[in-house]
């Protein structure tokens, strides 16, 4: 089982690496554009295929452990990069995205124990899949927004003009916020059915709320007279809160009796 994952991961990472290399050379040789895209896209297709295979093998969606959610990130993050390139003609984002995806797969290869095989009864709910998928896509968008913001900051520091970049990071953050809001409410509705109450200030819930607040703050600051260039720093740093929420929580002292740290059962 783990062997299969390693193969899939290596194939995907090689696809992304080769695709990036080709698309780098495609700047001078436009004929390379198509093969570069096919290779890079192929990496995500391999991961999607692996997820489908793994899903059928487990008889449940592979969404329970951190390791399993990383599979989804690895498949989806590069797709956001391609979409942004297609929609806004911004080329560089996809490199960051593919690097991030490879990094996630690397973590999984180093820690095979994150693969687990059973789904506890509380997770067997019609809310489970929408809740997690909405969150995954939201996080992917916000990760992309953060990466864009970091890039914008670096351009600012080098005094390069970059209006399009700022609207990309803003738009990604806005979409990410919409999905976070849905994820939060879906989670609350599900918690009512599974655990009896919609909100218990469980550490994971608290951190999800915190990351939602971070982006709520961003949207209002953006609406107010705050300098948009400065807000790029804010967007870049907000992702730190998301990261804590996403895997840091398991290591916090407050998480000892969280209902959401399934991996430590």
């Amino acid at each position: 089982m783990i062997i299969n994952f390693t193969t899939a991961a290596i194939v995907a990472i090689s696809c992304w690496a080769l695709g990036s290399l080709l698309s780098f050379f495609a700047r001078k040789t436009p004929a390379l554009k198509l093969p570069a895209f096919i290779l890079s896209f192929g990496g995500s297709v391999v991961m999607v295929g692996f997820i489908a295979f793994y899903w059928s093998l487990l008889d449940r969606p592979p969404l329970r452990t951190l390791g399993e959610t990383r599979l989804w990130y690895a498949a989806l993050i590069p797709l956001v990069g391609f979409l942004v390139e297609y929609r806004w003609k911004i080329v560089w984002l996809k490199y960051y995205c593919m690097a991030l995806a490879s990094f996630f797969l690397g973590i999984n290869m180093l820690h095979p124990e994150v693969f687990d095989k059973t789904l506890m009864p509380a997770l067997q709910s019609p809310w489970f899949i929408p809740h997690v998928i909405v969150y995954l896509v939201g996080y992917v968008l916000l990760a992309a927004s953060s990466v864009t913001a970091v890039h914008n900051v670096s351009l600012q520091l080098r005094h390069k003009a970059n209006d399009a970049g700022e609207s990309v990071s803003h738009y990604l953050a806005l979409l990410g916020f919409v999905l976070l809001s849905f994820g939060l409410i879906f989670g609350a509705l599900w918690a009512k059915e599974a655990w009896g109450h919609y909100w218990t200030w469980d550490p994971k819930e608290t951190w999800a709320f915190l990351s939602w607040l971070a982006y709520l703050g961003y949207l209002h600051a953006y609406r107010y007279k705050i300098d948009r260039a400065k807000l790029q720093w804010y967007l870049a740093l907000s992702f730190v809160v998301l990261l804590v929420c996403w895997f840091g929580v398991n290591y916090l002292p407050s998480a000892q009796n969280s209902v959401h740290t399934y991996t430590q059962s």
């Binding site: 506890m120 809001s181 607040l213 609406r223 002292p253």
Partner: protein, 444 residues
Amino acid sequence: MMPQCVAAGSGLNGRVPFVFINNKVFFQQVVIMVVPSRRLFQPPWEFRESALFTAVAVIAGFTIQYVASGRGVAMPHLPFNAIALTLFALLVLSIGLGFREAPTVKWFGGIPLGLCLIFAIALLSLIGGVVPQTAVAPGSLPALLGLNQIFSSWPFALIILLFLANLGLSLSWRLVPFKTQNIQFILFHAGFWIALSCGIFGSPDLQRLVMKVDEGYESNLGYTMESETPQKLPFSVFLHDFSLEGYPPQLFLFDPQSNQPLEELTKTTTLVRKGVKASWKGIDVEVLDFLPYALPGKNGIPEPADSTAGIPFAKVRITSSGAPIEGWVSTGSPMMKPDAVVFQQLVLLMMPGSPKAFLSEVTVHDESGEQTKATLEVNHPITFMGWKLYQMGYDTNAGRWSQYSLIEVIHDPWLPAVYLGFFMIMAGNLLFFWNGIKQAEGAA
């Protein structure tokens, strides 16, 4: 003749401090030039005043908490909390609408204060997200400041109240006069206002109790976390049957010397099925045969049995340095010892799989004779007389053979209001998603 803008001088940062109109220089946007030198508390108030105000509120909250020696906010029950909330909402609305031009009121309902309060809520939640929210020694500093129960502490309550006032004011200005283009704003902000205020004001009315019902018996007693004495409920529950379905069992290698499962093996636990193979550090295990329900037969070979009495048995072949070893392992049950295979100072064990589903067949009835028969299962609560009943737990030592079921019963009269808020936020979200896309398309 209309004044004509001929040329604009470019000032610092792209701001335009002056314009030439009809060949005369006019200093434009004097306000912008003045803002940086605005003194504290000189109107219009903005971020510095908001930050100061918020900081004072947080400090005041912690001071009250300290003076009250760590006792949190005690909130009234129905109907007094509902009355208080209604009065508060009316007060905010009438201040918003009656004094909408007053600079202080404008500031109180504005984004700068809103942002500072959001930051304060985030900061307090951060405390709640880092400091374990469990009992600590009374009299210690965290207990005195309420850090271990931050969400019912005075600073949190104070900030939430200010937040509701701020949000309520900004809402009042968008509600009156009503415009359709404000619907998205109203859905978001009113939805959040309703969900937050009803969730918090309604929390004293939330009742959560646990019932322990034995198979073949009836109970109308519920226990809370706080007290040993049970509370009588307005209905009773009869448990016909508790049943549990598990995932397939798992294989474990156990080292009796260290008295611990071997790490490698527990990390890659394998669900037992016929034909499954697993290997750890040169030890290969193959499952030759698997009987989900069986009982020990004559000459040590298990025989299939019915599902109530039978336990899982697996025939394994272990291959390591020496000749292969074959043997039967079983999970055991409360009535039966487990079987294990011993080799090379290690023990191969089979553990019961984790539970896949557990359910209680119950009949619930009240004094007037109203009754329902239902199946309680995790994620499938039932509703009876405004109470929700949840399958919560069972005797985990006995597992499938548990003689009782733990049922959580919950009464939350404020739930519909909170859900109304949730659905308003989701509707606002949908509009926001849609308008966001349209906006971006306009911009691109």
